[in-house]
Symmetry: D2
Subunit: 343 residues, 4 copies
Amino acid sequence: MIAVGIVGGTGYTGSELLRILAGHTQVSLMAITSRAEAGSAVAERFIHLRGQVDLVFTEPDPSRLSECDLVFFATPNGTAMKLVPELLARGTRVIDLAADFRLKDGALWERWYGMPHACPELLAEAVYGLPERNREAIRSARLVANPGCYPTAVLLGFLPLLEAELVDPGWLVADAKSGVSGAGRTASVGMLMAEVGESFRAYGVSGHRHLPEIAQQLMAVTQTEPRLTFVPHLVPMIRGIQATLYARLEGSGVDLQALFEERYAAEPFVDVLPAGSHPETRSVRGSNYCRIAVAEPPDRGTVVVQSVIDNLVKGAAGQAVQNMNLMFGLDESTALANPAWLP
Amino acid sequence: MIAVGIVGGTGYTGSELLRILAGHTQVSLMAITSRAEAGSAVAERFIHLRGQVDLVFTEPDPSRLSECDLVFFATPNGTAMKLVPELLARGTRVIDLAADFRLKDGALWERWYGMPHACPELLAEAVYGLPERNREAIRSARLVANPGCYPTAVLLGFLPLLEAELVDPGWLVADAKSGVSGAGRTASVGMLMAEVGESFRAYGVSGHRHLPEIAQQLMAVTQTEPRLTFVPHLVPMIRGIQATLYARLEGSGVDLQALFEERYAAEPFVDVLPAGSHPETRSVRGSNYCRIAVAEPPDRGTVVVQSVIDNLVKGAAGQAVQNMNLMFGLDESTALANPAWLP
Amino acid sequence: MIAVGIVGGTGYTGSELLRILAGHTQVSLMAITSRAEAGSAVAERFIHLRGQVDLVFTEPDPSRLSECDLVFFATPNGTAMKLVPELLARGTRVIDLAADFRLKDGALWERWYGMPHACPELLAEAVYGLPERNREAIRSARLVANPGCYPTAVLLGFLPLLEAELVDPGWLVADAKSGVSGAGRTASVGMLMAEVGESFRAYGVSGHRHLPEIAQQLMAVTQTEPRLTFVPHLVPMIRGIQATLYARLEGSGVDLQALFEERYAAEPFVDVLPAGSHPETRSVRGSNYCRIAVAEPPDRGTVVVQSVIDNLVKGAAGQAVQNMNLMFGLDESTALANPAWLP
Amino acid sequence: MIAVGIVGGTGYTGSELLRILAGHTQVSLMAITSRAEAGSAVAERFIHLRGQVDLVFTEPDPSRLSECDLVFFATPNGTAMKLVPELLARGTRVIDLAADFRLKDGALWERWYGMPHACPELLAEAVYGLPERNREAIRSARLVANPGCYPTAVLLGFLPLLEAELVDPGWLVADAKSGVSGAGRTASVGMLMAEVGESFRAYGVSGHRHLPEIAQQLMAVTQTEPRLTFVPHLVPMIRGIQATLYARLEGSGVDLQALFEERYAAEPFVDVLPAGSHPETRSVRGSNYCRIAVAEPPDRGTVVVQSVIDNLVKGAAGQAVQNMNLMFGLDESTALANPAWLP
């Protein structure tokens, strides 16, 4: 049994971690911390977990957490970096679901996240937890930076094209759309149902924190700095991310469908749909799958990739558990095999 | 292993049966039939089941179905009754998720369902599959009539009060609300999102088929015909039923909270919430739970019960699997233990 | 031209007042106040009013406000009562869209609203602004208490029955449902779309502020204290209230359809639908109408009334303008004649 | 007074035409036709128009329609072209809200719409009814082809850039999103709320009928065939279109904000938002406005334009009335001045 702790389990990713781990036969959930909720039962705050989770929230205590084999951080950005060095030093492995360890360049991190980094020396060691790209490194990692939700959807769509050098990295467009749970469980006027329901809009056109994260991973493939225009949008639904990706084909005659199918043939959680498909977010809702379709509209020299994930599962808690499974030598799909929730 | 067949698996209850049974370790899914879809793969129609279910829809064939230990009917009303006698005769047990065997009185059934009944002689034998009321009878039943969605929510709320003879059966009100998946997966203008989204209304005020079904079950408790006013409403959401029940207290001083908690203490799928709670449908979404709260607003002599279920799970496919588990001597919760889907 | 001011125009009722008054040919909008937004343009906060309203928010200033013929208060409860005495003294008439003047009994008000009342001496004078009940008094009122949203829907449904003494006032049930805009434009976790979307629940079962307001108005008809059980619910939609009302008929043989049609024949904003109808909230969305249907399900001795309004229009800003039109001798429908918004 | 007829008024665009024209002081609505509904009152089908429209649906009768000054066709594609020649011959002007007269090339039309064109000789005469581009021609037109919803949003966003020759017409991307009312009021499984609610997806990646319509209009500006990749998406909301447009800047240093503001300074229904804005669809809901923002994300050589309209108003019925106002010498904004509906 893997002894597991969760720091900051009161938001949506924490709630999803609890749901998934409650069904994981190899995990013993030791502690879940929340300063705000310390002393209250998890099932009081999350009624849907009554009868499933009988833990009580506690204050975060590094010495208690270090008794765990693994600690998940489901905290706001900037929290994990303060505790991680001590946990690693004591031999506890860490998966951070926030952004603290996603960028390799500490200066870049500080610019986008607006605060000094508490342990930039760990950035080089942290493994970017996208199993479809870094599976082997994840297995032996002490510290995994769990990818952002948008980056997961966008990268899985672009990787086959860039790895095969089929498109111009100098002109990439990612038009991405997210449900409102991506904004987290924090009081705000802007996320009231009366504000975001029955409406649609872009945001972050001038720059979004997931842009440098995506760019860093793309550059690992292309070597040169790609020029990506990334525009996120807010969809009046709760869960799900859909990304429509546009790139300029260099050359022609390649069987894109076969390329994608081969690239992901061995992947348990990437499902390339038949040609002509339009993946919908509900086809992955509540599941750890990414569903992808690739198409080449006639006479335009453009490839269009559609990619869908559940932002809270493959885009957060599910991918974190997938990484945990890899780190502890378990079947990668343990506790993640459920189909999507539909309708 | 229980050899299981599903007749009519192309709607929402069929889809949920597939999802639940795909995770059931004691079930071998032998056949799923659909005249309209015969020959096509389940995973073509239900993209979310790709990689989970590899069956192909077939024509309904009684001889093949009778090789199953159990057949679920997820068909429109009036279909099961044509095949059930033959299946029972061949030793196959049946759970009907439609209404064909829910009423004991054949004439009443014909009035409400507008067609002659094909096998009224089986109505007496059929067991009404509400485990919280008929558990022992279900265990040995050949034929189970799976309850309607509204009746499940309403009965679980009223039963403790009527069993304890605390309220006047001559004046009961059930104001019930359902998500749109209750209307099924059938093309209609009235269920377009542009018609039912962002709106709320009642329907069936002058009479709904679930009324005689509820009344029959209440009468089994009260012996006299209850006078129930039942008004269903349509909520702009996909899943979930909420019922607010009103009854006139006879006498006073009873601890209603204790009454409900004791009545359901041993029930794996009925969760009585603490006093003062307002159960929300999402707290049971995708799960087999019914969550209930009971309250007595001051100075009014009235008791108010709130009851929520997922119409497709405890209100249909989940309860059907719960019944199957009972019929085959399994742990009642097998394949049904997952928490609700939230957010 | 009527010189009009609005105090507290940054919420949904303020926004609707602005929309309606922008199309009112007899109104000159002089001032709109907001401490938080003072100095910023209305059209900066409400993008949808760009090109329609060119006012700038100002600090509330009684001397400036008293230059208006009429001031609307679209403020939180407890604000209007602090300014109203001075405005009335200076000859400015007032319509309060909050609850400050809705109850006649100051002690009762203080119990439900949890604060002392600043001017209880005005409670007797304030006219409850339900034109269908108090039209003549409204015409000459200095101070109008604009009804709550639930009370408007519930009262218009019950009034014909109680005025005609057809039902038992000792057993009334109002099961009411509201869209989320009823909770206002205030940051809260509980009203995030990820929390209230795709879910349905009751609230306030043990008591809601609109209960004494409804009871007071019913008692003005019945003379005796009615026993009303009122349960509000939250619907995952933005606008609209639907109330399903249940009462016990005393006697029989009355043509309820004719009763309702006659009661409201002369009312410009109450539309009694044909027998058998199920009014939906979208049929009044954005309009000042209340649509009503009355039914008597067979053999139960019960009458069921369905009533729908837009909570922000007939339930707030529209009814306020209707009252203003009456107070200033205008056609009651001025600026309120638009049909509902559908789909 | 303009005598107006509507052919095919039972869908959403017909319903919106009725709503807008009911408030138009210069219009006398003479006839509304529907084969399916002939003989029934408009207000029976459209409850929200009770008390607003007292017409009865009639069979379409060319001789009666030709008594009108203007006939709107709110019919499926392929219907108007059968009646238009006769109406024009009799001196009745026509605005077609369907696609029959949108393409100049009859062969191209037949390929995309899958049927022979009944009067290709009229395609040259028909004026494409985008006032921001063709105002003068519209004034004197006999036959106006009202633009499609996507083309309206996309063209208004691209036109300033292409007219100023600032971007490469060889690489344009339009990622467009529509609410579900765009699919019309026709029974289908795919548009059930249980199917499209809480989900998001693209459609028509391999080709959509609005693509040649947009391309034709762009080519009128650029002279050369532009290469546009157009991908429409379905948003779980009822009304609204948002388009995010991507183009490659040629040269630099141009003040894009000023360019857009100047291009649309005199336009009553195009509102260029301040730099940094993210227009949301609800800011134009129910109104005839198009709201636009233009941005240039740093270091990418790309311009991003966001454009929002209400698909049923500026994208259909509102624009049709705007065209009518122009054709009959009225103030262009007559009956169209209402602000958007929010929240």
